[in-house]
Amino acid sequence: MGGKSKGDAGTSGGARVGMPADFRIADVMDMHRQLRDALNVSPVVLDGTTVDRVDTAALQLLVAFQRDAQKRGHQVSWAGASAPLYDAASQLGLAQTLALPAKQSA
């Protein structure tokens, strides 16, 4: 769909993964690829500030990434999370697992 993801491999060995505005099941394949790549580097910065719409499939993907990165001992941090992202994660009981930053006002 509309939102284009921007994923630029960090020059300092890390990575920054930005999420699309419409982060739902139809667009998760692209994010899946990006996140798989990001598993090989550390630290990773996740940017969810522009997420407008999000669903369970997207959050499940983030959970799997977050968990696998932790297993490898990689650092994952958030540049920010939009209110819709935060609300959806909280509703599904995943906000803590994802280590989402405190809710930002949209």
Binding site: I25, V28, M29, M31, H32, L35, R36, L39, D55, T56, A57, A58, L59, Q60, L61, V63, A64, F65, R67, D68, A88, Q91, L92, G93, L94, T97
Partner: protein, 659 residues
């Protein structure tokens, strides 16, 4: 990796927790009579320790049960709730229920049962009920204590089918207060993950006045695409009202718990907690013994008569220390009778409430010490006597008033030393024995042939006969046909006896006399041929010498003699135990009249040697079991004397007669 079995700590946990429960009960009873905040704290601490221990040692049912009790106590502690009768009652039942759980835990059975579950609901209801009153915001949502637990696990294809759990959970959240716990255990590694498949699951707790249908409606469209279970958070059985009503029937439950408890304790080898002071005095004594021994050791090297007095001093010291050491070791098995008395405040409270009687319980001499074995076995007879005293002895308040007595009846339990025995008295100031009713009943049962000229003492004795109960109405408290005869038998089994004294209108006194210990008995030693037998003193009625013509032979080879108007069989010990050199003629020897279980026989022996204390050694452990012999002891000259088991001997006699 070494594994430490946590089970090895269970026993300590059980013991400490049961002590904690005793403390809780005592504090609750004290609260019932108006206590202070410190009592509440001590109750809370006890509950808290049990909860913590239960969780640590792998008893989740017990932990969750105690958690509810703790929550209620917490409200009391914080002053959010006043402590009142219903709460004390509820907590007392909680104590009973926990005791039951510990019994089941020791027996390795499942802890939770219908009783504990229902009590747990009542505790939860008691906690929940108060919340709306305290927190006004919650009051807007009615029935905060009701809710549902929803297990929701979408099938992998649900997302692709266009149904998003996120939407479903949002709908649920709109129905009430939703607590979400995500289950991530089935989410595969990122590499293996198909992002369009759902591998998450949820455990949801929905509280609020929500019907099951409303929840089912949310999942209506995904029924086929997920595993779903909806269960009530609080079982629907007791509505929040019953806290007062449900309290009505605790006495029976308490009694049942009591019996279960004693059953559990009887099949456990048991342990004794010993005060450090007792251990210290033992160590001191052993030190003294070592010194004495070193002193005596000198004489082995060189000895001349000039040092005889030193040797005598040393031997005297040795004797003194040995005796003290024996007493101290016996003392280790001694526990204060208070541990048995402790159960009575609760029992008396429950019974008096149930019967509508007013009873003041006085306990004296709780520190009197008794052998642990005796202590464990005396509990049930005492409970029976106390029940009897309240049920049959003490009158209803109006009757007492009419008789010019205080409306509050007094029940006194007193323990004290008398000679080498412990005496426990159960004294009530009730109506006393109903002489006429007892005689009428005894006539009806054929225990006596005529009511004329029967002494008060004999009347008292009648109630100890098997199957005797005068209660006009059989209550569930006492009078179930199992009565005073069982009490007497239990006490006699312990080597003691029960006596009763009663004055019409003034009350009844039961006196139980118990030996200090089962390890030493007072006995009469009797010679039979070359052997010596010990007859326990408690069984002996009288010793007599019979002329030859006093004995009648009966068909079948038995012999009878007349004793106080009755014919008693004679048991010739030399025949019984095969002593060839014994005297054969009745007039040459002595007959000891002994009694057990209400039966009397005459034991024929050569002569009496004297009274002595005998340290009982097990014959079974050192040889094998012999009918008619309860044990052995070692005499001063080093020879072995057998201790006659009177009850066993009488049973043997009965069997021979029947054969």
């Amino acid at each position: 990796m070494s594994t430490i079995s946590i089970a090895q700590f269970h026993k300590v946990f059980f013991e400490e927790s049961l002590e904690g429960l005793d403390a809780m009960e005592a504090a609750l009873l004290a609260l019932d009579e108006g206590g202070d905040a410190e009592l509440v704290h001590s109750i809370f601490r006890a509950a808290h320790s049990i909860k913590g221990g239960a969780a640590t040692f792998g008893f989740p049912d017990m932990a969750s049960f105690t958690h509810e009790a703790e929550s209620l106590l917490d409200q009391v502690r914080d002053g959010r709730r006043a402590i009142d009768k219903p709460i004390v009652e509820l907590m007392l039942r909680t104590v009973d229920c926990l005791r039951g759980m510990f019994d089941r835990a020791q027996a390795g059975q499942p802890l939770a049962d219908a009783g504990s579950e229902s009590l747990k609901q009542q505790l939860a209801a008691a906690v929940g009920r108060e919340i709306p009153a305290a927190v006004t915001k919650a009051a807007a949502k009615p029935a905060a204590s009701s809710g549902w637990i929803i297990q929701f696990r979408p099938h992998a294809g649900m997302l692709a089918g266009g149904n998003d759990p996120l939407r479903l959970l949002r709908e649920l959240a709109a129905l009430g207060q939703l607590v979400v716990e995500a289950q991530l255990d089935r989410v595969p590694a990122l590499d293996a993950l198909d992002p369009s498949e759902c591998h998450l699951g949820w455990r949801l707790e929905l509280t609020g006045a929500v019907s099951r249908d409303a929840i089912a409606a949310v999942f209506e469209w995904v029924e086929d695409e997920c595993d779903l279970s909806i269960e009530p958070l609080v079982a629907v059985a007791p509505p929040p009202a019953p806290a007062v009503e449900a309290i009505a029937a605790p006495a029976g439950a308490g009694a049942a718990a009591g019996t279960a408890r004693s059953a559990a304790s009887s099949n456990d080898a048991g342990s004794v907690r010993v005060g450090i002071d007792k251990i210290d005095s033992l160590i001191d004594l052993v030190g003294e013994l070592v010194i004495t021994q070193a002193m005596l050791d000198q004489f082995r090297e060189e000895f001349d008569l000039s040092r005889l007095s030193m040797l005598q001093d040393g031997l005297a010291q040795l004797a003194r220390h040995t005796r003290t050491l024996q007493e101290s070791v016996m003392g280790i098995r001694m526990l204060p009778i208070g541990s048995v008395f402790n159960r009575f405040p609760r029992l008396v409270r429950d019974l008096s409430q149930k019967l509508g009687k007013q009873v003041k319980l006085e306990m004296i001499g709780e520190h009197t010490e008794l052998d642990k074995t005796v202590l464990e076995k005396i509990g049930d007879p005492l409970v029976h006597l106390v029940r009897n005293a309240i049920d049959h002895g003490l009158e209803m308040p109006d009757k007492r008033r009419a008789a010019g007595k205080s409306e509050v009846g007094t029940l006194r339990l007193e323990a004290f030393h008398r000679g080498g025995s412990i005496v426990v008295e159960i004294v009530d100031d009730g109506a006393g024995l109903n002489r006429d009713a007892i005689i009428a009943k005894a006539l009806q049962k054929g225990l006596i042939t005529s009511g004329e000229g029967i002494s008060d003492e004999d009347v008292g004795d009648l109630i100890f006969q098997p199957g005797f109960s005068t209660a006009a109405v059989t209550t569930d408290l006492s009078g179930r046909g199992v009565g005073m005869d069982v009490v007497r038998r239990n006490v006699v089994d312990l080597g003691g006896n029960v006596a009763i004294k009663s004055r019409a209108g003034a009350g009844t006194t039961f006196t139980i006399t118990l030996p200090l210990t089962l390890a030493i008995i007072d006995g009469l030693s009797a010679a039979v041929g070359d052997e010596c037998y010990i007859v326990p003193l408690v069984s002996i009625v009288e010793s007599i010498q019979l002329p030859a013509d006093a004995v009648r032979s009966v068909t079948g080879g038995g012999e009878l003699f007349r004793f106080r108007g009755e014919y008693l069989p004679i048991v010739r010990l030399h025949q019984q135990f095969g002593c060839a050199t014994a005297r054969q003629n009745i007039q040459d020897g002595l007959v000891i009249v002994v009694e057990a279980d209400g039966n009397q026989v005459g034991l024929f022996v050569d002569e009496l040697i004297g009274q002595q204390q005998a340290v009982v050694k097990s014959l079974e452990a050192n040889y094998r079991r012999v009918d008619g012999i309860s044990g052995a002891t070692i005499l001063a000259d080093g020879s072995v004397a057998l201790i006659v088991d009177i009850a066993g001997l009488i049973r043997l006699q009965g069997r021979r007669k029947a054969a």
